[in-house]
């Protein structure tokens, strides 16, 4: 009995310690959001993340255009779902990067556009899966407009891989 109690108490204690450690990490100056970085350092850290996503997407979208043209919309939709999932992870990684204090607002806005981008991709996938061509088209227009807004927000960063350039894959 006492052993069981100790056991529970021990797990609880470890859990509390773990939670505190997480909180300490989140609140500690110098953690993800607080570290002092300049714009060049931010770009240097963000570009490999975007590069990984770019390369993954090259694989993910292989054959998608042909499928759309062939009317195999359900099949084509899976490319979008996979891309949306991969992009969600990319955004998480980008959001976790320490940001230059002077660019905080700009980067927050950019991440917001990227999140909207991810939602549009997922919704296009759903629309294609449902065979709703009109909706897929409408969403792709919004997606393109959102891409431009995202790019213009971080224009001064001189991004390469983190710049959205959909024409590269057409």
């Amino acid at each position: 009995m006492s052993h069981h109690k100790r056991g529970i108490g021990g797990r609880r204690s470890r859990a509390v310690t773990g939670l505190l450690a997480l909180l300490a990490l989140a609140l500690a100056p110098g953690a993800a959001q607080g570290a002092e970085v300049d714009r060049d350092e931010y770009v240097e850290r963000a570009e490999p993340i975007c590069k990984t996503n770019t390369e993954a997407n090259r694989r993910i979208f292989k054959g998608a255009k042909a499928e759309v043209r062939a009317g195999e919309l359900k099949k084509a939709s899976t490319h979008f779902s996979r891309a949306a999932a991969a992009f969600e992870k990319t955004i998480e990684q980008l959001a976790a990067l320490p940001r230059p204090a002077s660019d905080e607002a700009k980067l927050r806005k950019w991440i917001g556009y990227l999140e909207a981008e991810q939602r549009y991709i997922a919704r296009i996938g759903k629309a294609l899966a449902q065979g709703d061509r009109g909706k897929a088209q409408m969403l792709s227009v919004r997606l393109n407009r959102n891409s431009n807004l995202a790019n213009n927000t971080v224009l001064a960063f001189g991004f390469d891989y983190c710049r959205i350039d959909s024409s590269r894959f057409s």
Partner: protein
């Protein structure tokens, strides 16, 4: 600058409806270039090309808003999507000597039948021992004589205040790949000493009759996949080359709607 991208929208490009024109921007250091493109009308047949007008426009600026520090734009290359086709049979040809030297009015009188478009140019004039000043000029595009199998577009840039002119000779090439028609020009040597372009726009459009048939200098179809009422497509790509070696590329994505079935 390499053109990579974060989210491939390959299939999205095969979709869509009307998209408002918006200049796409690119930046390198403090140099910012914008590129805009418009296709009109946007409602087109799915397969048979129909007459269209194509407008391309570019802006060059410094991030601090100071035109005095802009490098000189020496080369412009505008590549149009392969869906757009140029046809110039039956259009008179204008010789360079007819429009240079010439005023805008003289050029129109001598080569009016060869006009295939028009536009505007804004440039900063930098002359020794003078403060730089801005000049607005009109641009008229004439169908030029082919050279080495390549079509030419002679774009006369003429300003009235102060009076001055030069001709931009665009070479039109057909190429394979996504952007099938490439129009390139270099700033003439005579303008190197003083002309710093900050804006240009050119609209190409000419509908005429040839052997009894209605023809258009530029035609395009809206190649949307079957069942889709429109398409989103990379419309044009501009590459700007500057005297300091900087080179920037910008692509614009636009949309069309299918007219009829």
């Amino acid at each position: 600058m390499r053109a990579r991208h974060l989210i491939p929208l390959v299939a999205a490009l095969a979709l869509c409806t009307a998209l408002p024109a918006r200049a796409e921007l690119s930046q390198q250091g403090s140099l910012i270039v914008g590129f805009d493109g418009t296709l009109s009308p946007t409602a087109l047949p799915r397969t048979d090309p129909a007459p269209v007008s194509v407008r391309v426009a570019g802006d060059i600026k410094d991030s601090a808003g100071n035109p005095d520090s802009l490098p000189q734009l020496r080369r412009i290359s505008v590549a149009i999507n392969r869906a757009g086709r140029l046809f110039d049979k039956g259009i008179p040809v204008c010789e360079l000597t007819s429009i240079q030297p010439a005023t805008e009015r003289e050029a129109r009188e001598r080569c009016g039948g060869a006009i295939v478009g028009d536009g505007h140019v804004a440039l900063q004039v930098r002359l020794p021992a003078q403060e730089p000043f801005m000049v607005q000029a009109n641009l008229i595009a004439f169908n030029g004589r082919s050279q080495g199998g390549r079509k030419l577009i002679l774009a006369q840039v003429y300003a009235t205040e102060p009076p001055g002119a030069f001709v931009l000779t665009f070479t039109v090439q057909r190429r394979g790949g996504l952007f099938g028609t490439v129009m390139s020009t270099t700033l003439p040597q005579s303008a190197h000493e003083w002309a710093y372009l900050t804006h240009f726009d050119m609209t190409l459009h000419r509908v005429y009759r040839y052997r009894g048939e209605r023809r258009s200098y530029i035609s395009a179809a809206c190649a949307a996949p079957a069942g889709f009422p429109g398409a989103l497509f990379p419309f044009a790509k501009a590459t700007y080359g500057f005297d300091n070696g900087q080179r920037l590329t910008t692509t614009v994505v636009r949309s069309c709607r299918v007219r009829g079935k």
